[in-house]
């Protein structure tokens, strides 16, 4: 048997609907159609009345989810593309994120954001919004990079009594495969050493994990062992695991697919320089997408986002420093 990243997300939702009668799914085309990416395929038929097509109204979708959560339901919201979640931004950052702090009433919502770029996706179907949401107190932001994490972190997110922004990567949907779904997993909030090494640390998350692993493999041919840390969740950010890795290697490169200004990389580097300055043998570096909207043509897109070879060359620079 083999399971894709997308199938893992569907399986987790299937399990959640089966195990917990409070769970329901709300979003555009998630019903009989099964979702734009088929992440809910078959679920409307299996759980009648609990997988609902919404109107094209991100603000209302989020507002409805918040009201339902106040009344004890466990909504899973599918945004058709992460990019469109900005139309529901007000409800997410001003309402869901503040509810518990203001009123003491929990807001257990999982918002699934099909995130990141694919060839031909262009400026409005490719964005990575994790830094934007992580900016706001009251939200958890997770970015699974593997099939196993996609499954276990979605189930984990549903157990959290607070709003969770679940950034699933579209490029990984059908690209990644695992032999089976996990029965045990690392909890949300813990980073993972995806590849051990001693000469430099690459901290990354989501689809960039795979570029970083390929880069580490390439550099191994030069005789350098690069450690790759998969953050898994952006908020909370597992600073301890990152610092421990930097303590072993003395060098840090942070890689993320998002725009550079105020990105996850900026946060990681700020923390490492503040808390682990003495561990560093060279200035920490970051590699992000370029600071332009995300281009449409695959040739441009492929250069806009960091690739394995771009990561490898940034790492080689760092190793020289």
């Amino acid at each position: 048997m083999s399971v894709t990243y997308l199938e893992a997300i569907k399986a987790a939702q299937d399990k959640a609907l089966a195990d917990d009668h409070r769970v329901f799914i709300y979003g555009q085309d998630v019903g009989n159609f099964g979702g734009a990416f088929k992440a809910t395929e078959g679920l409307a038929q299996k759980y009648p009345g609990r997988v609902l097509d919404s109107p094209l109204s991100e603000d209302a979708i989020m507002g409805m989810a918040i009201g339902a959560a106040i009344e004890g339901a466990r909504p899973i919201v599918e945004m058709q593309f992460a990019d469109f979640s900005t139309c529901g931004l007000n409800q997410i950052i001003n309402h869901a994120a503040t509810l518990y702090y203001r009123t003491g009433v929990n807001c257990p919502i999982v918002v699934r954001l099909p995130s990141g770029g694919t060839p031909g996706g262009g400026p409005f179907h490719s964005q990575s919004m994790e830094a934007l949401y992580a900016h706001y107190p009251g939200l958890f932001v997770v970015t699974p990079a593997t099939v196993e994490d996609a499954y276990s972190m979605l189930l984990g997110a549903l157990e959290i009594e607070d709003p969770v922004i679940f950034c699933e990567h579209k490029f990984l949907y059908n690209h990644l495969k695992a032999d089976s779904l996990p029965t045990e997993s690392l909890p949300i909030g813990k980073a993972r050493i995806a590849r051990p090494g001693r000469d430099a640390t690459i901290v990354t998350h989501s689809a960039m994990l795979h570029e970083a692993l390929a880069a580490a493999e390439e550099i191994a041919a030069d005789g350098f062992q690069v450690e790759v840390v998969d953050l898994r969740s952006v908020k909370p950010l597992d600073t301890d695991t990152v610092l421990a890795s930097v303590a072993r290697t003395g060098r840090l490169l942070c890689v993320s697919e998002a725009f550079p200004w105020g990105s996850v990389c900026a946060e990681v580097i700020a923390r490492v320089t503040a808390e682990g300055f003495g561990l560093l043998d060279a200035a920490p570096q970051r590699l992000n997408a370029k600071d332009t909207p995300i281009p449409y043509h695959p040739a441009l897109w492929g250069t806009h986002r960091p690739t394995a070879s771009a990561v490898a060359s940034a790492a080689r620079q760092l190793l020289k420093g």
């Binding site: 109204s57 209302a60 009201g67 007000n90 009123t103 600073t239």
Partner: protein, 340 residues
């Protein structure tokens, strides 16, 4: 209390009794808000103060027709509706004065208070946002198999121009949820007059566009408000789907106590729409013989005394202590520890 009211009370509910009950809540809201304004002028209130002067009849009619177990998401000018739904003079003063014993513990204030677990949702400032939120609450109630509940929320004419109003009403209509949206068309959104706010002939026409039942009411007339709002809430409760009510009135004060409201056209104050609903309702009570002028004055004096005593009590209560505050925005402390 007049003999007539006493006699009617013992004879069971009747329209006069409901009218008088509504009037007394309106009066309490008015007197309480007068105190809030005075406290604001004395520099005793932490943030802004926003009054519902002139809007009590419409607002109280919403709160009074809701049952325990219903959902209510009031807005800025709904002190009367809040009190009809069970909010107290004590908690209002606690929230405005920043007592740590208030429902929001100093973390949020004034009009943003609520007790969501009791169906009394705490508004966010962003106008329109509570419409889909109440709809979602009703959706969850439906999942639980609860029927016969209603969710109501209020907003102003300005609020009807937000995306959330359109998205929320449309989404609720698609699900045929028992949502009641009450628009207080008080002629101005902050300083912006209706002519710069919408170009349709009447706001109630918006209901047609969503497949929602629309109702219009003279919101200076308590009896009309009780009838129209009561009817719309009953229709929603009976499965008639979302209801939109538009009440015409004039905001008799500025946007908040910081705003003298100089932009309000004085001609409007002389028109029917500019009548003070509290005075109008008081006159009806006297005219019908449900109470005397002296009774009305006595009721006012009673509330005033209660408000003053409560304000004095609250002013001695502890303010929130930054050292005691946990500064944690999520309930999951284990994950929160990783935030540091």
């Amino acid at each position: 209390m007049s003999e007539v009211v006493k006699a009617r009370k013992s004879a069971g509910p009747d329209p006069g009794q409901q009218f008088v009950k509504a009037y007394r809540i309106m009066l309490s809201a008015r007197v309480l808000e007068e105190k809030l304004a005075a406290l604001y002028r004395a520099g005793k209130i932490k943030g802004g103060v926003f009054l519902g002067r002139g809007q009590e009849a419409l607002s109280v009619s919403v709160g009074i027709h809701l049952h325990q177990g219903d959902i209510f998401a009031p807005l800025i000018r709904d002190q009367a509706g809040r009190m009809a739904f069970g909010d107290t003079i004590l908690d209002t003063l606690r929230t405005y004065l920043g007592s740590s014993l208030g429902s929001m513990r100093g973390r949020d204030g004034n009009i943003h208070r609520g007790r969501p677990r009791e169906g009394y949702y705490a508004m966010i400032s962003h106008l329109g946002a509570m419409i889909p939120t109440v709809a979602g609450g009703l959706l969850a109630r439906r999942f639980r198999g609860e029927h016969g509940v209603v969710g109501a929320t209020c907003l102003g004419d300005g609020g009807t121009s937000t995306g959330a109003f359109h998205e929320g009403l449309n989404a609720a209509a698609v699900e045929r949820l028992p949502l009641v949206v009450v628009v207080a068309n008080n002629q101005y959104a902050y300083s912006t007059p209706n002519t710069r706010q919408f170009a349709c002939a009447d706001l109630v026409d918006k209901a047609i566009g969503y497949g929602v039942a629309g109702h219009k009411v003279d919101a200076t007339d308590l009896e009309a408000c009780l009838k129209t709002v009561g009817g719309a809430i009953a229709a929603a409760r009976a499965g008639g789907g979302p209801q939109l009510i538009v009440g015409d009135l004039l905001r008799l004060v500025g946007h908040g106590e910081h705003d003298p409201g100089k932009y309000i056209d004085p001609k409007l104050r002389k028109q029917h729409v500019g009548r003070d609903c509290l005075e109008v309702a008081g006159a009806v009570i006297v005219e019908k013989g449900w109470a005397t002028k002296e009774d009305l004055a006595q009721w006012r004096a009673e509330v005033k005394a209660e408000v003053n005593t409560t304000a004095n009590r609250v002013s001695r209560e502890p303010e929130p202590d930054p050292g005691e505050e946990d500064w944690c925005a999520v309930s999951n402390r284990e994950l929160e520890d990783n935030f540091a």
